[in-house]
Symmetry: C2
Subunit: 399 residues, 2 copies
Amino acid sequence: MSEILQQVKTPKSELKSRIKRLQAEMAREEVSAVLIMQQADKFYFSGTVQDGVIFVPVDDKPVFMVRKSLKRALEESELEKIVSFKSYGQMPTILKENGIENISRVGLEMDVMPVLIFNKLCSVFSGSEIIDASKYIRKIRMTKSHFEIQTMKKAGEILGKAMKAVPNLLTEGMTEVELAAETEIILRKSGHQGIIRMRKWNQECFYGLVLSGESGAISNYMDAPLGGMGPCPAAPRGASQRKIKKGEPIIIDMVSAYNGYVVDCTRTFYLRKLEEKLVKALNVSLEIQKVTIERFTEGVNLKDIYDMAWNMAKDANLDEYFMGHGDSKVKFLGHGVGLELDELPVIAENFDFILEKNMIVAIEPKFLFPDQGAVGIENTWASKKGRPEKITDIEDNLV
Amino acid sequence: MSEILQQVKTPKSELKSRIKRLQAEMAREEVSAVLIMQQADKFYFSGTVQDGVIFVPVDDKPVFMVRKSLKRALEESELEKIVSFKSYGQMPTILKENGIENISRVGLEMDVMPVLIFNKLCSVFSGSEIIDASKYIRKIRMTKSHFEIQTMKKAGEILGKAMKAVPNLLTEGMTEVELAAETEIILRKSGHQGIIRMRKWNQECFYGLVLSGESGAISNYMDAPLGGMGPCPAAPRGASQRKIKKGEPIIIDMVSAYNGYVVDCTRTFYLRKLEEKLVKALNVSLEIQKVTIERFTEGVNLKDIYDMAWNMAKDANLDEYFMGHGDSKVKFLGHGVGLELDELPVIAENFDFILEKNMIVAIEPKFLFPDQGAVGIENTWASKKGRPEKITDIEDNLV
């Protein structure tokens, strides 16, 4: 086993507790079995992303049927029952061999599973009622264990190295892509895993965003306040060939990923002075972060935090620019992170949700000014009984 | 409009011809309309990936309904009818306004579309029969235009810069990740778009693979001969923390992506001498490439090329190691590339397919030796009436 695997392998106790929590949801909803296939979900319940299907019965140990690589699945996963399989059609036989019969209600990841695969599974389980299991999975994954939080802090450390290097890398006249490349190589060499997973269809993330001046106010297909031109229309997000100038905001929104877990963080930089209006907006975003964090604690309703942030932007006469402008305004202030960048819970308009402890949210008050750019702050936080824990333990002011 | 957009914008004539070819397939199969939503398909038929749905009627101009960003879709796409929309429920009204009624058979991208979105669309088009349109789309996308081939050659140029730099970057004792990071920064600064798209569910690609010694023989969840340990179990593919040694093969399999289009290329490097057996296998892979390319021409059956390559490996007593070993052997020699890394056609076992001109395939004869690593070659080729055109115009021997 490689050294890194020894360090990061998901412990058996973690897998057991995750499966137990899923089975509790299943029992409540009278679901006989759930099939786990998507990369992030598979990693969560097995500790590996090797190609296969985890069959979780409501009252027995899961059977992990692996197509490729079986050898690596056996090395990487602490699940007890790991067997080889080649096609979906073999599943009923394998399940029978493992003493599993009478599957009346089967849950599938219907929010992410392509229709043609779903149709195949429907014919394999033609005697069963098929339901959507994604709501149970997403609910369970919201609450993070100590092991998960420690992994996310490591992702935060990696991110800190790159963010702290920015003031030394940044020079007038370099392009956004050049600055992005220089920060990305730091992330990569520090242990960033490369791939960043998102759950929602057609959403994509490559490292993060390095946006200068008006780039910061350009939106795109993503459900996020910041966008940027990107290198080309086929990848219209993030750094472009635009040259960085003095006196404009340079906003860097970076995503780190370490052994599956992502954390998200934004800092605003500039060369020489920023215009008064932008400095004021940056200070308001820091103030919103401060007040939000004071309230981000077990028992709070997230919708109230959202409303409060909006009122603060209004009181500062900056609501027109808060979290976007015009058509491209988004209606959230924060998003859950974990194995995916777009997890639950969110801090959003009408998202009526009582926060529990150990939920991890990236909170990102930002202001976007057309033609001038974006300023703001973002950190990833773990909710606690009292004050939240800062997962991206990096100074807020790096200029 | 940005400078880069002017250079790479998909011309109106391209979009027209693509839609015309789709409509011809639709007419043949009596499909009234096809909805295009997935990133790569959307880019192909509109020139943008902004969030929206392209509704293609069998006998009229497409209506592109855009959610976000409408402004950018209008800038980036040469489609004529681009309208704003907020939810799927609005579609029937928008279509009526555009004179489109009587939709009896609707095609959706059922190979990639998540079930919950499919279910929503089924209720929006509850009076229509729903069929899978992905087979038509994938078929049309196989044949590349001059514009597409030129874009892919540009992707090849970017890749050439990184590959040619490897001999100067490579030193004993550096880790695979360090070498990967140094080549990735060259790709990124040269115009690589970052994101690499794959069609098949749960398949992922981040730049490419830098594998030394036994890493070259480690397989994983991907449907590919090479895998590698990767940085961690959550991203178990590509470069790891392994230190590069003298006398072992260092195989670099890199994917470039420029304005949507990907090309794929592999070179084998080493510090000092390689063992006789590995040198022989590398030479056989070059010989297989040579003979394959002679046959890779309009009218050939791709299955025959596959069989021929296998026979060459057998004749050299190397079939045990060809395209993997043991359980992890793959049953193809080449794969189509374009807007996605896993396009059609493939050169594979029993893939009975007559090659037409302007189809682009990455052909990758490789040998994997357990505990020793991998050697081989890969280039991306465009089929022609005669000899194919090399899209990855890089010397085969860079050592």
